[in-house]
Symmetry: C2
Subunit: 275 residues, 2 copies
Amino acid sequence: MVVFAGQGDARRSMSLLWRSDRPEQQDRRPGPGPRPGLSVDAIVTAAVAVADEDGMAALSMRAVGERLGRTAMALYTYVPSKSELLDLMYDAVHAELPMEYDDTGDWRAGLTDWARDTLEFQLRHPWVLQVSQARPVLGPHEYAGLDTLVHLLRTTGLEARLLRRLVGTLSHFVRGCAGTVAEARQAAAATGESDEEWWFARSALLGEVAPDFAERYPDLMAMETGSAPQPPAPAPAPGEEAVPYPEREARETFDVGLGVLLDGIEAAIGRTATP
Amino acid sequence: MVVFAGQGDARRSMSLLWRSDRPEQQDRRPGPGPRPGLSVDAIVTAAVAVADEDGMAALSMRAVGERLGRTAMALYTYVPSKSELLDLMYDAVHAELPMEYDDTGDWRAGLTDWARDTLEFQLRHPWVLQVSQARPVLGPHEYAGLDTLVHLLRTTGLEARLLRRLVGTLSHFVRGCAGTVAEARQAAAATGESDEEWWFARSALLGEVAPDFAERYPDLMAMETGSAPQPPAPAPAPGEEAVPYPEREARETFDVGLGVLLDGIEAAIGRTATP
DNA sequence: GAAGTTACTTTACGACGTAAGGAGTCGCAA
DNA sequence: TTGCGACTCCTTACGTCGTAAAGTAACTTC
């Protein structure tokens, strides 16, 4: 479920995002009519809470309204549509992204920290992974996050054109890792079946239904036997906090993949340094 | 919208995927009752056509049924639920993935071709990007595609454990690039507003609403001015086939990012070759 | 007090997946 | 030949969703 962002009145949407109509509201000129019981901020906060707790699929106008003791329609006084609300939520949580990193020379450490923070952020708010990237929300906090990454990348001294592509490359990678973990957690929560149980049951069925598996996929088998006996899950060490199997898998992919990516960037730096 | 796959009867689901109940069907023992007017394959084909043409959001049981001249409920005779149908669709289209690549030494060329083919495949069927990766479908064609990639990676001589992570890293990267393009196309189709138009309008609004943009995001500005004056779209050369702006952007990210990734892999190979 | 504006509610519409039950069609045993 | 049971496919219905339209009540301003 990729959710697309506001397509309504673009000007109103941008005003809300950048809070450029706030001055008037803060004057507290009450004007005629009953006192507003809600506010855009309260609605965004409630909506983020719903999405964090119950996932994007559970994010309905009715659910957000209920959390605020109102009906769904009450929200439309403050927010033009669900799409715009989603934009606001997206930008609001991006305020959590750290902005200060070591930029005194060790670009590798800086980017590693950035990637880790971004991963954790996306796992805290897994629903952000389901907001379309193609037409960005263009809010102040999203831009701030982008600026942070660009700042780190600029310390490598690489040319601007290449930098642009590295932003995308790193983002895709982190998003992919986060998505895998987030989806695994969501599947476990939705089905009540842990990943270990799921894999165990599916492996057995696979053996029944595809007895020629080893011959059909020789390279896959060679890799599996050469690395770790994993699809039948490794026993979780007793007493140890058990990180579920595919989550551990994804985190290792994150560590290794990030290293490979940074090695590639290092190669690029070496190439421009000695032309 | 991330869509989760079948959670129903796992055995039936796997049987359908691997067609291990097909022999009986192919015997054409008619049995009692009216002749089946449909088949699992026909339904899957129709569903893929709907999803390809109108996107995942338009993939409803009613729409698939209509395309086959039936009601939505008629499909439930052949397929247990929409989730299982999605599994079947997912695996079915993966049969399109090429399986033969140059594995005679030039692993770089092989992986580049693989990545390009995978990207094109995912752009042909953008809805596959919206199927959850955490609990894979485990169908024969998905496994075949995985086997192909592993085969290519094994020619690098890297150890199995590292290989596993590279599979994920490369997949995340390609999926990310494909997702950006797919979402851009979908947004353009849904709104009727081209990406150029969209960027142009949004840039103007951004100037209104955030006049201090340049001071707030200095690194972003430095990168933009240092690379290409792009958000205000570059004029499409007349007569030339105009690849939309963010699609071109994404394809460049693909080329550059893939190069960086392969450089990283090359570094890993060099490290193990000279221990 | 009357008028006008605003916050919020109720009701309603057409989409969705799919459960339940019914109608019609066919092979096969009696 | 008849009727049973299995089978395909249909209609209807329920509870979800976003949100349009219209109504009610609270409040400021004249």
